[in-house]
Symmetry: C2
Subunit: 257 residues, 2 copies
Amino acid sequence: MASYRDVAELIRQDVAAGTWAADRPIPGIDKLRDRYGVARETAHRAVKALVAEGLLYSIPRRGTYIRPPLPAPTRIRDRQAYRDEIGYFFDLGAQDWRAVGPAIPPQVGVPPSDVADVLGVARKDHVMVRDRAIGPPDADLPEQLATSYLPMPLVGQLPILGAPNTGPGGIYDRIEEHFGKAIEWEETVSARPATAHEQQALRIGSGLPVLIITRTSRIDDHQVVEVNQTRMAADRYSVSYGVRRSESAVFPRPSAA
Amino acid sequence: MASYRDVAELIRQDVAAGTWAADRPIPGIDKLRDRYGVARETAHRAVKALVAEGLLYSIPRRGTYIRPPLPAPTRIRDRQAYRDEIGYFFDLGAQDWRAVGPAIPPQVGVPPSDVADVLGVARKDHVMVRDRAIGPPDADLPEQLATSYLPMPLVGQLPILGAPNTGPGGIYDRIEEHFGKAIEWEETVSARPATAHEQQALRIGSGLPVLIITRTSRIDDHQVVEVNQTRMAADRYSVSYGVRRSESAVFPRPSAA
DNA sequence: CAGTGGTCTAGACCACAAC
DNA sequence: TTGTGGTCTAGACCACTGA
């Protein structure tokens, strides 16, 4: 009796050995049941485990396919704040990206609690939420989901932040004009399993993670004027930054406790 | 007939409603079967899905528990290159971290293919591999797994890079002394599902991702002298960087195709 | 209409943990 | 000894795809 882990390992080996063409479905679950001499459920469980692992992906009622080995040069970007005639972007490869799919008008709602904390509002407070799915100009499906959160007091002073169209330079130019000062950005990168909605919108395999860039915009180094969360498939994106050298050549080591 | 997704949703609601204490096991699979009136397999499948999602975690033969809502302030760090009397570190919160568990002597081996590419060596070439599990001084389990890859030609010129102990300032000081130039660092953040080994070593729930920081060390802005990969549980860590403003105020937009 | 991935059921074991 | 999570089996449907 072979366990589903054993079967998964056998399938892994068959995939590595090139037993099946990469662009065609691998044998169906009933075929795999015969091939490895196990119950159908067991074969299915093995396939499901490999799907969760990212080696395979399944399209219901069509077949199970081998996931191409990560479109080799997983796109990497040196994150900086770039500006062109139209607005800001933080990724040289995404300068001409635009909103994909139906436009979602800005709404007022409750942000995720981690965003609320950074934004400095209470967990249940309302904020302005600007949601977009973005991708290359000719794409019909988005590559990333970007959500911008703005504190209501600021929107009260600057109502255009709640408008569908915020004009050239977007919200960042409006905010800098309003304060007469430059915005400073900090980005935090995190990851978690993709939600069902993200799996669907970004074509993420079941069980695979999303990479999340949380960008905090500040004025005067402390007042948070915006928090932006951009989500993308972790198997298609990674994010790169230059690392600066701390200014003190030798950093004092805390005395032992 | 309720599907396992329905049951999972019901369990989600029960967890959110606080039906079960957070620090004690939730009812066993057989209890859940009765509670929701489904087959045992179905109840088990629902639990397994929630474990993969990160809401629950199971300890075989002991019970299934509610995962505590991420130790609130998921540690965030402003990544910089810091230096103290002992050596370099890139995270202010990890200045006093040390190797945890058995010391692994430096070895010669084949690096992952993405590392080989960055390092500029062929996919099958050998490099020097320095592997460490690190964590706080009093911890018995590591928080992060750090692996350093060095090109063999450099190790030939600087044999100390293959020694267990590389002296004060570690490999970075040795390399800077050798070249008489400063190292420049770039970090790339990515994520993928944790391997079985990482799940065990870092206590990562099944199906949850690891966050990977790949740090590339260069001399003269082009020669790669080291690649370091640090892996950590994505539900316990995130990484932050300052974003600098691109030097050209307005970045030219490529002409339309 | 046949083949597909996906699902549910009912029943049976297993190895280990806690008592 | 009892309860636990985990696993395997055999059989049955289902909704949909693609020929």
